[in-house]
Point group: C2
């Protein structure tokens, strides 16, 4: 009889973490705060009150409480899909003939298919407690939009989504999913806002951009201000905070497996998936308990915010409506090439991740798109799971690390932060399989131009 090899580590709901981990309480160095673009002063919860649900604004600037209790009513919602599973990739290990042990924590079994519901339901909960009527947001390919559509519906709120027009028309499935949840989803540019109307007048067939969609969502929110707030799916502190349940669960599951990772691998677009996984582990590195823990951030070669960006204050959106954020940036005016990993097409990065990188606590690599899908196909063929284009980036890098282990004859434990499935991204796989997928070179000239337009920071 063959040896019993456990493929999945289930965590009972009784053992599900009931607190988020706020890394700001442990953050080493002097992490620069977000600044008010008018005054140059650090942003306060009061500044954020008209933008986000009040409690989210408070969490955003909280630098003291290490642990934040997850409200009981939200835990009950989390229990409709959490804890998510930790998988041991036995078949991938065999296929690579590596002595490495490969694990992946998989968020694809959430109802919306990704990690995004962890914060979408949290933000909806706080908005509902505050008595708000709805949340407005933007979405690119629709992963974030569909998670927020579900979250708002769970708490009886309205949801308004401005979806980048070209995705709205070319990738209707995520849009239909949002509508099934009851959200109102419109293509951006839309006739519903000033910015949308202005663009449509200039350019009736405008395909839209994430930056424009953000402007529309914020404008819509301000017009419905009494009852609406704006909701973001990545980058800022409170969003990353809500994702830490992923890593806290994973610590318990790795303990069940009797393993501690040598290497953590995750993809970064705005940072919410990977931060959710690695923040709970990096505290062992910050405290000095695990000085050799490697944390690798993976990004696209054509949109390499951390590996090639400038560390500077910049806006989070194209139009300059957000606070100033100190981060690695390719310039808020930079429009990334049309790679299939929609969630990684962002000019900036979570300021927490940037700061940790500056301190040398995390490293970053960039990978080209065809290599990424080659890894995704390999992974599907041995593990069965069809990986979304974003986490395909870290599958690629994890496989490279496992092959290094084979060359060096050492067994390391590699843990992948797998944010979700690619059921709505099969057109990208088809492009790869039919040889039509191209790699985009790093657009150095465009980045230089965009970085020349960084905002001036007013003297506080």
């Amino acid at each position: 009889m063959a040896k019993f090899e456990r493929g999945i580590y289930f965590l009972d709901q009784k053992d599900m973490p009931t607190r988020w981990y706020n890394i700001m309480a442990d953050m080493p160095g002097d992490m620069p705060p977000m600044l008010h673009p008018g005054t140059g002063k650090p942003i306060t919860a009061d500044d954020l009150a008209p933008v986000f649900a009040e409690e989210c604004g408070k969490q955003e600037v909280n630098r003291t409480d290490r642990w934040i209790d997850i409200p009981e009513e939200l835990l009950a919602i989390y229990r409709t899909w959490r804890p998510t599973n930790l998988y041991r990739a036995h078949r991938l290990e065999k296929a690579l003939d590596t002595p490495a042990k490969i694990f992946y924590k998989y968020e694809g079994t959430s109802q919306a298919g990704s990690h995004k519901p962890n914060t979408a339901t949290a933000q909806s909960y706080y908005a509902s407690k505050q008595g708000l009527k709805g949340l407005a947001t933007e979405t690119g390919a629709g992963q974030w939009g569909s998670a927020l559509a579900m979250g708002t519906r769970f708490f009886g709120l309205e949801c308004k989504v401005f979806m980048v027009s070209i995705s709205y028309h070319q990738k209707p499935y995520r849009r239909i999913l949002m509508e099934t949840y009851g959200a109102n989803c419109v293509p951006s540019p839309s006739p519903e806002t000033k910015s949308g109307r202005a663009m449509l007048e200039k350019w009736p067939d405008c395909p839209g951009s994430l930056g424009l969609a953000i402007s529309e969502a914020m404008e819509y929110m301000m017009e419905h201000h009494e009852n609406y707030r704006y909701s973001l799916g990545s980058v800022v502190n409170h969003v990353l905070l809500h994702q830490t349940i992923v890593g806290e669960e994973c610590r318990k599951q790795m303990e069940m497996a009797g393993e501690y990772p040598d290497i953590l691998v995750g993809n970064i677009g705005g940072g919410s998936n990977y931060a959710g996984q690695f923040f709970p582990w990096i505290r062992d590195k910050i405290s000095g308990k695990k000085p050799n823990l490697r944390i690798i951030c993976c990004e696209p070669e054509s949109c390499p915010s951390v590996t090639k960006g400038m560390y500077a204050y910049d806006f989070g959106d194209l139009s300059g409506m957000t606070p100033l954020i100190k981060m690695y940036t390719l310039g808020h005016g930079f429009i990334p090439p049309p790679i299939h990993a929609g969630g990684l097409r962002y000019h900036g990065m979570a300021p927490t991740i940037c700061h940790l990188h500056r301190l040398g606590l995390v490293e970053a690599v960039s990978v080209p798109q065809t290599a990424v899908f080659e890894a995704g196909v390999k992974f599907a063929q041995v593990e069965g799971i069809l990986t979304g284009p974003e986490p395909c980036h870290n599958v690629k890098v994890a496989m490279d690390e496992a092959l290094k282990c084979r060359e060096e004859g050492v067994s390391k434990t590699i843990l992948i932060a797998h944010s979700g499935h690619g059921h709505f991204d099969l057109a990208a796989y088809e492009a790869y399989l039919s040889g039509k997928l191209v790699d985009y070179a790093y657009p150095e000239e465009e980045v230089r131009k965009a970085q020349a337009e960084l905002p001036k920071v007013p003297a506080a």
Copy 2:
């Protein structure tokens, strides 16, 4: 602090069942065997050896062994996604304001998104042990085809899929998934077989049918006979046998929940999903331990094999290439209306389910398509999961039963056999949401015509 309400029952892999349940060993009454269409004699394992992998043929006619060990190597594969979760639908109960307790056993977290891998990997395992080179099959919308594509790849086999042409062209995502797994998928009719070529000559734009695709797959298999076998995804005994791991797991999980179901609800197309769930429970009814257990089979109003079919020997396919099967049938020449539940568009039914229905051990109801999607949208909005069109049928019937509980003021425990997600079926949801979905009346005249063409059974 609110009461801890468990939303998911996880079953540890150590407790995963290691045997399938063969209901034939316990089958009451005198269930008519499959017959050889030439001789009229009961089919033997030898008759089946040129068609199915040898071990599958043996399982098909096994009427004596109650338990069949799942091979160790296959258990290791099952452990890449099993045990699947049992969910308690707290939010649905609250939305319906019902005293009923509603549970659903959900197969949508398998890599292929449905219950189909339970038998796809098993058939691939046996084919591989036998030293075969590949398996050929047909698929409608692609759920079965993608599961077999994955299963064959796991065991290093080739996979040839004939996909109904109209689905191949209109619903490319499942096809791309099959190709990602490495299967060779062609639209049927294809130029690769005689039946395909004959049809293309007559009708170059022929949209195809499941019956034609079966003929092509069987022909392809016979041409590659030395190394290929044919693979089926439902109806026959060995396929249903492989699905019983679902119900065996579920029994353990319901025990964890401290509940025994009063009502089981599942959809039936060929029968494989629901049989996998209810066979392990019905033995308590057969043995007399649970005489009041209700087992409700749900089917489409426009293709109501059990509720309106004739109990007779018929072919399993359109062209009459299969053995004769005693079942409820609408006639093998009947082409069901184009409802969105592709998996339920079948003229016949698993002979085991038909026999149990004849004995009064299970009941059947049929439901119209718009009511089915109305229930699916409701379910998505409260539970989050986007249900496939097939299991939407039993979600609808379970909701009706829960509402009856409210009216009658009684609390019953209802267990839904939920076969998978609808991520590839969003066009159907859109049709419903935009008011374009229609109900098809039961096509009585077409059924009568098809039933007039039932095959004659040769005297044995």
